[in-house]
Every structure is written in structure tokens, then in C-alpha cells.
């Protein structure tokens, strides 16, 4: 497990990181390193240079204004899972962070790194979609925000330019949310991960969003299922009927040795049902 040779640069600021990424050929950003370094050790990734943003100050803060959370790109999964602001304002996000990988991964891996890597089996993307999060990134042209629904493009591909650096993520608070996953027995990646948000008005579901990762190359919103639940009570029957619609969200389910695309689609229905029930209970 020896990576090929690479140059190493430590950026002192986001601006310097953008400058290095712009000037160095074949450079990759590294933060927690828990996706990139294993890939490099397997020589699946062989960047010529690493630009380390791990020690840039101020990028790991987590704050809340009551309506939404702003999470610094370098916040580790553990710190997201443990932060009082996240647990209180958006329990589903804390639940998602706590479900990632194993304890070492959670202690080192960062939210910005996970989003930028965009692994189909990553846990955050479904939550970001369901919550309607926005990614803030800085590049050569300055800062911009990208809606989660525009951010994930394909397997391991995002809307980020090569020289853009995620600085933070803005996540609307939501009480009625839940993230449930079927964990791969070897890798701990999500075979299927379902993030569900439910908003109640009186006894009826007024809003619903369902993000699903693991099934297809990029995380998707199950809009048909979400729409099916709105406009009536979150009863077991209506949840089951809504969950039965998730299949519409998948163009081409992915399969591997452990679970075929067909089985993943089946599991997506099961976990959607469960996540909706938990989310609705939390919303009420």
C-alpha cells in the first residue's frame, strides 16, 4: 500500500489553496484524507501534487442562526454528529454523520471532503438533497453557492471546478428528519441510505423530501414518493404507498457483489418507509 510519488503543499488560506490548485498540474485537494489517501495507496488515484487545506483556520466552525446551520468544510463527521446546534436543529444531519464509516473515519473525515468526493455510497449526499442544503465554494472567480440538487453530477463528479474549494455548507434546520442506511458489511458504505424530511401542518403532511444514496451513481431525490405523501396524514398506509413510488427515482441502479441494482431498489423502498415513519414521528 504505497502511493506513487507526489508533491505536497500546505495551504495557509483558501486563497492560497485556490492559487495552488490553479497553478499546479494534476493537483488534488486533501483535507481529512479518508477517501483520497486510501485511493492513492491502492494507486487508483495518482495525483502529481496534494494541496492540504486541513490546517486552514476557521473552516471547521459549526454555527446556527435558528433557521439554518452553517457548517465549515473542515468539520469532521464526529464534530457534526456531536454538535449541540446540529443535534437540536437538524437531528437527521447528526444521525447521518454518526452513520458514516467507522470511528477513525468519522474523527478524520470532513463534510467538505465527503461532498467533494461524491462517492455513490457516501451518506451525506442524500441528507443534503432532502434538506435542500447549499454548498459554498471559492474559486478563481470568487465565491458562489451551489444548491445540493445541482451539486451532485455523477459518480465521483460534482459541479465544482478543478480549482474550487468548498468552504462551508448551509443546511436548513428541520425537526422532522431521519436518515437510515443499509450498511455494506465490508466497507460500511451505504448500500442504500435514505434521508427523509417531513413537515406537518395540522395532522397532514405539508412538505416532504426524500434523498437516496447508494442506489445510483449519484444521490437522487425521490420526488414522486415525496409528493405522494403530501396532502394527507402520515399514516402507515400512506407511507407505504409513498415508499412504493421510490423506484421512479432510479434510472440505472448500480450493483455489486453484495447487492444488485434490483435489490438496492427493493431496499430503497423498505428504508424509505422506515425513514418516513421516523421523520413523521419527529415532526409531530
Amino acid at each position: 500500500m504505497f502511493p506513487s510519488q507526489f508533491d505536497y503543499h500546505r495551504a495557509a488560506s483558501v486563497a492560497e489553496a485556490v492559487e495552488l490548485l490553479s497553478s499546479l498540474p494534476d493537483a488534488k485537494l486533501v483535507a481529512g484524507g479518508h477517501s483520497l489517501i486510501p485511493a492513492m495507496k491502492l494507486r487508483a488515484a495518482q495525483p502529481a501534487a496534494l494541496v492540504d487545506i486541513g490546517r486552514i483556520p476557521g473552516l471547521s466552525d459549526i454555527s446556527s442562526d435558528g433557521d439554518s446551520l452553517v457548517i465549515g468544510a473542515l468539520a469532521t463527521h464526529t464534530s457534526v454528529a456531536d454538535a449541540a446546534a446540529v443535534r437540536g436543529g437538524c437531528p437527521m444531519l447528526a444521525e447521518t454523520a454518526a452513520a458514516i464509516g467507522d470511528i477513525q473515519v468519522r474523527n478524520r473525515g470532513t463534510i467538505g471532503g465527503s461532498l467533494a468526493h461524491a462517492d455513490p455510497g457516501a451518506d451525506y449526499p442524500a441528507a443534503m438533497l432532502a434538506l435542500g442544503a447549499e454548498v459554498t465554494a471559492v474559486g478563481a472567480g470568487g465565491e458562489r453557492t451551489i444548491a445540493a440538487s445541482d451539486f451532485f453530477v455523477d459518480i465521483l463528479t460534482t459541479a465544482l471546478a478543478d480549482n474550487e474549494v468548498i468552504t462551508s455548507v448551509r443546511v436548513p434546520c428541520a425537526a422532522g428528519g431521519a436518515y437510515l442506511k443499509h450498511r455494506h458489511p465490508a466497507s460500511s458504505y451505504a448500500v442504500v441510505g435514505v434521508a427523509a424530511c417531513v413537515g406537518l401542518d395540522g395532522g397532514d403532511v405539508a412538505s416532504c423530501a426524500i434523498g437516496i444514496n447508494g442506489v445510483t451513481g449519484k444521490a437522487v431525490l425521490a420526488d414522486a414518493a415525496a409528493a405522494a405523501l403530501c396532502g394527507g396524514p402520515a399514516s402507515a398506509d400512506r407511507i407505504a404507498a409513498a415508499a412504493a413510488c421510490v423506484g421512479d427515482a432510479f434510472d440505472e441502479p448500480l450493483g455489486d457483489l453484495y447487492a444488485s441494482g434490483e435489490f438496492r431498489a427493493h431496499l430503497a423502498g423498505v428504508y424509505t418507509k422506515r425513514a418516513l415513519a421516523v421523520a413523521a414521528a419527529r415532526a409531530g
Binding site: M1, F2, P3, S4, Q5, L42, R43, H182, H184, P185, A186, S187, Y189, D256, L257, Y258, A259, S260, F263, H266, L267, V270, Y271
Partner: protein
């Protein structure tokens, strides 16, 4: 017995392991050492049309690059197979291939460099052109008409055919049977996953022409023998092989591997010490793998449920080459176990050892015996279902009665001792089997998928009587050596040919010798794993260290006691028959007068000063024994597993796991419990999570721990371990071996439980591992799709 045997003495080796002070091959360092890396074939079967090493050789920090031709020209012999059944066809297995690769991971070229990073870069810089050849990966498919040939000279991909049992009695049983159940099943390929990957290091002393090799081996002496006689050609007298601390083996570190030849050869060739440490990726594609059987079998019985015959045909995948003991596993360690714990006159089994474009297959924890147990115990459950009988009751009905021991099976083995009915009764009591079944009925009424799996399993361990092994195909003997060296101060060094790679021999063998001599355990040091210190040894596998290695030490300790007694009598000026050796204290004293005696230390000192020894006695106090067991030992177990299957995700949750094992007398209950628990977890891995899988073109799909799922702590509840003891009558310790019983029993226990849970849905068989998707598909196929 004594003060230590039978008690849970804390493991003396653990302080160094848990403080990071263990000394492993990867810790071997020399100032001018080179790092060896190996170019691996990405193709499963191909002709090599070109190798260009020039770019690699020109890299800064690269010391040398070698190809297969260099090793051939440099005197390296091919890797031999140490177990040959009649008419075995053995494909040539070069250390590094020259013109053709036969599995993904085959060695193609070798780099020696200043750092492991440079070595890895240089490996990538070696250019190899491959002309792909057709591949075959399936154990049974390898014998199909027109299947691609792995080796042109073996024109049917069959290495051997082998059969054992009473075919006539078997045919008669089926002709007269009231009921017959049949099954076709796969014992899937497993990839051993020791915590420490394989490694080798070597230092050549050009002046004395002595070579020292450090290797992660379970048996350094046989490795030295093979290096000397076959692969490296350095005389044994000039070759020292050391297996220092080794982090787990599970069988995969028994065998002689190419890297153990490559590293010393390179060290001598370039005149610098050399070291290679496998990456996890290399381990997955080069460590010998386990299981991989396809089997069709049927069980005959009378209407009252008495088993009368078992007929088995197995295709055993041996991989691309025959690993060191490969043909042993599906023959003399598999067919011989097919009688299980049951009285059955008509057992007959045949096996076809086939060659495929896959990593070689050899012993993996249990080695042949888990394959047999899974088959037999599935058939017994199918029989219970057919007859409408309780599976535990049917097993007790057919179990060999305790008064029938020693019991001669129709498949060669003479079981030494056992009490299978008591074993099952104890398991049933501990599990509250009746209560479990009642709870299952209630759960089923609620629509839950609850299952109970019961097994009774047999193991043959403590290999082996050397003459028997020889008659079955072994090229070596399976005795063990043990030396007890009492120093003049009364301190004791114990040299054993067994090798510990996690088992705790430094504790258990010290317990044995301390009790034999009546000395404090702190004064006994156990030395193992070094051909330069231990005179010879056959190593550790097959749960043999206590019964064979321990027995050798008992024999040597007996000789020490006899000499000490003789010296004591002489110094006490008493007749030998008037003195006793007190094994509680190590003192020799006059019978009836404990106060007039000599301490062990005094007598040891007297043996070395030799100022006043009995007439004609040689000085010194040092004995070596070679113990050749009279028979295998036969541990047995009954395990009961309770599971729940989730009716929508189809995940299996183990609710309870109750194990009762009979491993004979127990030296250290804590260590035995750990062995049983660890074994069970490995068996559960085969049942639920693990599969070594190849694509049709020979690519290893489970090539990393991202895909290959070893069981984790959260897969199991607390394991409830208990045991009964029927001592082995033929070794001095009465021990049977505890290393593999858990693994053997756990796979069928879990499989039976899951299939019991799914019985209401009409599912009767699912191939292992029982992953959610496999269960989902089986339920759908049974017409109960959800």
C-alpha cells in the same frame, strides 16, 4: 492434576502484544536492507510476450530487477507439493513465472529498491505484454468437455480423483432406504484474513555462507526443509529459518510460498539483506484460500429415522497450482469426516481435485472438516424435515453411543472417545431448547421469521500418526519434538516444534511443563519458531499443538523427572524406591519424610556440577523427545443458534449462540474459550458474510476488504460457551485440540437456523453466504416474494 493445568493462567505473551512490543517479520531491520516488491499478473491466464524492465532498473534507488528467467538460471527450483494422493498430476509452479501466468496475482518480476515506495514505483514501471488465454474458474466447470486448460499437459484439468468408504454398503443402503434426501451445495471460497499480512526477510553471510530467513510461517522447520531440498538449495546446516511473532495464520501460513524463496535469493544475489511485506491487496490475491467445493450428496434412512447411508460426490477447486498440502484437504480431511457423529454403515465419498485459473486453495481453519460438517448437518436437517422429526431428537437418535468408543467409521477413522448424547443434552439444557422452540412457535404465530439451528459436529485433529499420513499421501511425518532443558539454576527452557501465532503456547506449554516438574511457571520459558534454537518441529495447524507438541514435552519432562529422582536418591543416600518426586513442589524426598529432601534447583545444580552423581550417569539435565501420536484426536461439539430474519431487508440477526464443545482435557480454560469463540466467529463469517468470488475471466471480485466482508463484533451476541470433557485416551494429557471446532460447527449451526426461520416461506436451500439479497431471491423463488 497440578497447580497450573486446568486453570486460566493469564497469557504471558499478551503484555508485549498489547503494548506494541511484539517482534514481527516487518520489524526486522538492517541498515543496508533492500525492499523487495513483486510485479503481479493482472491477467488470470495469459502468455507473456514481452517483459521490459529497463525503465524500472534505471530508476533512482532501484538496486536490481529480476525476471522469472533470472530465478530459474539462478538455481531456484519449483515449489513442490507435499501431499500426493495416487496418480496426482502436479503442475509446475515456478517461483516467478517465465512465459505464462495462471492466476491473477501470479509473480511476474521482482524489484529490490532502497525504499518500499521506490520499489512500488519500479514495479509499476515494468512493462509486460500479455496475450490473454481462455480461463476457467469453476470447480466443476473445469471438468466440462472443452473447458479451457489451465495447464496444457493436464488435459482434463483434473489433478486427482479420490474415493473412500464402503461403496457396497452405501449402494445397499440406498437400495433398501425408506427415505432419501438429497442436496447440491457449495462450500464457497473463503479468503483467510490474518491481521498480519505475510512477510519474509533474509540476511546472507557471505563469509560463512549461512542464510537466515525470517518468515511468517506456522511451521519454520518444514519451510527450511523445502527451501533446502527443493527451492533455494542451501543446505539445512547453513540455513536458519525464524518465524518470530506471527499475527494470525488460520492455515494460510502453513504453506511454502514463492516470496520465501525470492527474498533470500535476492539477498544473496545482491549481497544485502532484503525484506518483503505483503500489502493487503497482495494477501487477497496470493495467500492460499479455503473451501471452494461443489457437492452433490444424498442421505439414506429407514422410516424410523435411522441413517443407513451417505453418498457424496465433490468437486474441489485446487486453484492454478497445488499448494503445499492442497490434495490433503478435500481427501483425508474431508471424506473421512463424512460419517459425522452418527452411526451409519454405508458412507462413501469421492472427490475430484480440479485446476482453475484462481489462487491456489489449501487448508483454512478447519480445512476439509467444515466442508464435511456443513454438508452432513444440512442433510440431517433436511432428513428431519422430511420425517417430521425434531432435528435435535433425530441427531440424538443417530448419535454414536458413548459405549461404542473407540468407534470405527466406514471412512477410515477410529474415533477415540466421545459422548455425543451428553453433548447435545448439555447444549439443549444450556439453550433451554424447549423454551426456544416454544418462543419460535409464538414468534411464527405473530408472523415473525424466527429459526433455531442445531448441529452436532465432529473434528479430527492432532495430525497425525506419521505412518498413517504417509499411507494417505504425505511426504512428511507429523510427529512433534519437544525439548526440556533444565539449567543449572533450576530455570527451565522448553523448546517446542509447535509454533504460536496467537494461540498462547508460551503460556499453555509452560503450564504443562511446570506441572510435570513441579516448578513455578515463572521459571519456565517456552522457545519456538526458530530452527536455530529448536532442533526440529512440524509446526502448528490442525489443532495439534497441545496433543502432539504438548505430549512431546510431557515425554521429555518425564525423562527429566526420572533423572532428577535418581540423583536425589543418590544424594539422599536412599534407594530409588524409597524416595518420591513431589510434583507439587519439585522436591525429591524420602518417602514419609518430606523434610529430608532436595529441592529441584539443588538437584539440577548437582546434575551440572557432576561432583557426586550416581555411578555411570552423564552430567547435564536436558532431554529431547519426538512424539508420534497413536491416532488423531476427535473433538466434538453441539451448537444451538437462534436467529431472526427481517421480513423486508432480509438481514439475519443472531439472537443467541450456545456452544458446547468437547475438546478433551483442557489446559487453560480461558484460552480454550477464546479459541472456541474466535472459531465460531470465523464459521459465522462463512455462513453470513464471506465469499471469495471470481468473474468468469478470473478477476478476483472480492479483492479487497472493501468487498470481502470479514465478520465483525456487531454480527454476534455474546457467545455462550460451555464444554464437557471426554479425555483422549491415547495422549498423556488427554487433550484433543480446540482451535477449529468452533469454526466447523458454526457454519451449519447458523445456516440451519436461517433455513429453519425461512421454512414457513417454503425455502429449503440457499447457497452461502446467507446475505440479504440471496435470502430475498430465495423467498421470491419460493413464491413468497416481498
Amino acid at each position: 492434576m497440578g497447580r497450573y493445568v486446568g486453570t486460566s493462567v493469564k497469557r504471558v505473551e499478551d503484555p508485549r502484544f498489547i503494548q506494541g512490543k511484539g517482534r514481527y517479520v516487518a520489524n526486522i531491520q538492517f541498515p543496508d536492507m533492500v525492499h523487495v516488491a513483486i510485479k503481479r499478473s493482472p491477467e488470470a491466464h495469459a502468455r507473456i510476450t514481452r517483459i521490459d524492465t529497463s525503465a524500472a532498473a534505471a530508476m533512482d534507488g532501484v538496486v536490481a530487477v529480476f525476471t522469472g528467467q533470472d530465478f530459474k538460471d539462478g538455481g531456484c527450483g519449483s515449489l513442490p507439493c507435499g501431499w500426493l494422493v495416487p496418480d496426482t498430476k502436479v503442475p509446475d509452479r515456478p517461483i516467478v513465472v517465465t512465459d505464462r501466468v495462471c492466476h491473477v496475482g501470479d509473480s511476474v518480476a521482482v524489484v529490490a529498491a532502497r525504499t518500499p515506495y521506490i520499489a512500488a514505483d519500479a514495479v509499476e514501471a515494468i512493462e509486460v505484454d500479455y496475450e490473454p488465454l481462455p480461463t476457467v474458474v469453476d470447480a466443476r466447470g473445469a471438468m466440462d468437455e472443452g473447458a479451457p486448460l489451465v495447464h496444457a499437459e493436464i488435459d482434463d484439468n483434473v489433478s486427482y480423483h479420490w474415493a473412500l468408504g464402503d461403496q457396497e454398503a452405501c449402494e445397499k443402503a440406498f437400495a433398501e432406504a425408506d427415505e432419501v434426501v438429497e442436496v447440491e451445495l457449495v462450500n464457497q471460497r473463503l479468503i483467510p484474513t490474518a491481521m498480519e499480512p505475510r512477510a519474509a526477510a533474509a540476511q546472507w553471510d557471505a563469509a560463512s555462507e549461512e542464510m537466515t530467513v525470517w518468515t511468517t510461517s506456522q511451521n519454520p522447520h518444514p519451510i527450511r526443509l523445502l527451501l533446502s531440498a527443493f527451492t533455494l538449495g542451501i543446505p539445512e546446516s547453513k540455513l536458519r529459518v525464524i518465524s518470530p511473532d506471527v499475527g494470525g495464520g488460520f492455515g494460510s501460513k502453513i504453506f511454502h510460498y514463492p516470496e520465501e524463496v525470492i527474498v533470500p535469493w535476492v539477498a544473496r544475489e545482491i549481497g544485502r539483506p532484503a525484506r518483503w511485506v505483503a500489502t493487503r491487496t497482495e494477501s487477497q490475491m496470493t495467500d492460499s484460500q479455503g473451501r471452494d467445493h461443489v457437492t452433490v450428496a444424498r442421505l439414506a434412512m429407514t422410516s424410523d429415522g435411522t441413517f443407513t447411508g451417505l453418498d457424496v460426490e465433490t468437486w474441489a477447486n485446487q486453484g492454478a497450482y497445488l499448494s503445499t498440502f492442497a490434495p490433503l484437504i478435500p481427501t483425508a480431511l474431508y471424506i473421512t469426516l463424512l460419517s459425522g457423529n452418527y452411526k451409519m454403515p454405508g458412507v462413501f465419498g469421492k472427490v475430484h481435485g480440479t485446476l482453475t485459473n484462481t489462487v491456489p486453495v489449501d487448508a483454512y481453519r478447519g480445512a476439509g472438516r467444515p466442508e464435511a460438517a456443513y454438508l452432513v448437518e444440512r442433510l440431517v436437517d433436511l432428513a428431519a424435515t422430511r420425517l417430521g422429526r425434531d432435528p435435535l431428537e433425530l441427531r440424538r437418535h443417530n448419535a454414536i453411543p458413548k459405549d461404542d468408543f473407540p468407534y470405527q467409521t466406514p471412512v477410515a477413522f477410529l474415533y477415540d472417545s466421545g459422548d455425543y448424547d451428553r453433548l447435545m443434552a448439555t447444549a439443549a439444557d444450556n439453550a433451554d431448547y424447549a423454551g426456544m422452540r416454544a418462543a419460535q412457535a409464538e414468534a411464527r404465530a405473530e408472523g415473525e421469521l424466527r429459526g433455531v439451528g442445531v448441529v452436532c459436529c465432529i473434528e479430527a485433529s492432532g495430525p497425525a500418526p506419521s505412518a498413517v499420513a504417509g499411507s494417505l499421501g504425505s511426504a512428511v511425518g507429523f510427529w512433534e519434538s519437544g525439548e526440556v532443558r533444565v539449567h543449572p539454576t533450576g530455570q527451565v527452557s522448553v523448546f517446542t516444534g509447535s509454533h504460536a501465532h496467537g494461540q498462547g503456547h508460551e503460556t499453555t506449554l509452560a503450564q504443562v511443563v511446570a506441572d510435570e516438574l513441579g516448578v513455578p511457571i515463572e521459571s519456565v520459558e517456552v522457545v519456538h519458531g526458530d530452527t536455530g534454537r529448536v532442533n526440529f518441529g512440524m509446526g502448528t495447524y490442525g489443532s495439534r499443538s497441545a496433543c502432539v507438541g504438548g505430549s512431546a514435552l510431557v515425554r521429555s519432562a518425564e525423562k527429566v523427572r526420572a533423572k532428577v529422582l535418581e540423583i536425589g536418591a543418590h544424594l539422599l543416600e536412599a534407594a530409588e524406591e524409597d524416595v518420591v518426586y513431589d510434583r507439587e513442589t519439585g522436591r525429591v524426598h524420602v518417602k514419609g519424610s518430606p523434610e529430608s529432601g532436595k529441592d529441584f534447583g539443588e538437584l539440577a545444580f548437582a546434575a551440572y556440577t557432576a561432583h557426586n552423581l550416581p555411578e555411570g550417569m552423564e552430567p547435564g539435565l536436558n532431554f529431547v523427545s519426538f512424539y508420534d501420536p497413536a491416532n488423531f484426536t476427535f473433538p466434538a461439539s453441539s451448537h444451538i443458534c437462534e436467529v431472526e430474519v427481517c421480513p423486508d431487508t432480509w438481514e439475519v440477526r443472531i439472537l443467541r449462540y450456545v456452544a458446547v464443545d468437547d475438546v478433551g482435557k483442557v489446559i487453560n480454560p480461558m484460552i480454550v474459550e477464546g479459541q472456541i469463540q474466535g472459531g465460531i466467529v470465523q464459521g459465522v463469517g462463512q455462513a453470513l458474510t464471506e465469499i471469495g468470488s471470481y468473474s468468469d475471466d478470473g478477476q478476483l471480485l472480492s479483492g479487497s476488504l472493501l468487498e470481502y466482508a470479514v465478520p465483525r463484533a456487531d454480527l454476534l451476541p455474546g457467545i455462550e460457551v460451555d464444554r464437557i470433557e471426554t479425555p483422549s485416551p491415547h495422549n498423556p494429557l488427554g487433550v484433543k485440540g480446540a482451535g477449529e471446532m468452533g469454526t466447523i460447527a458454526a457454519t451449519p449451526a447458523v445456516a440451519n437456523a436461517v433455513l429453519d426461520a425461512l421454512a414457513p416461506l417454503g425455502v429449503t436451500h440457499i447457497e452461502l453466504p446467507l446475505t440479504p439479497e440471496r435470502i430475498w431471491r430465495a423467498v421470491q423463488a419460493a413464491g413468497n416474494g416481498a
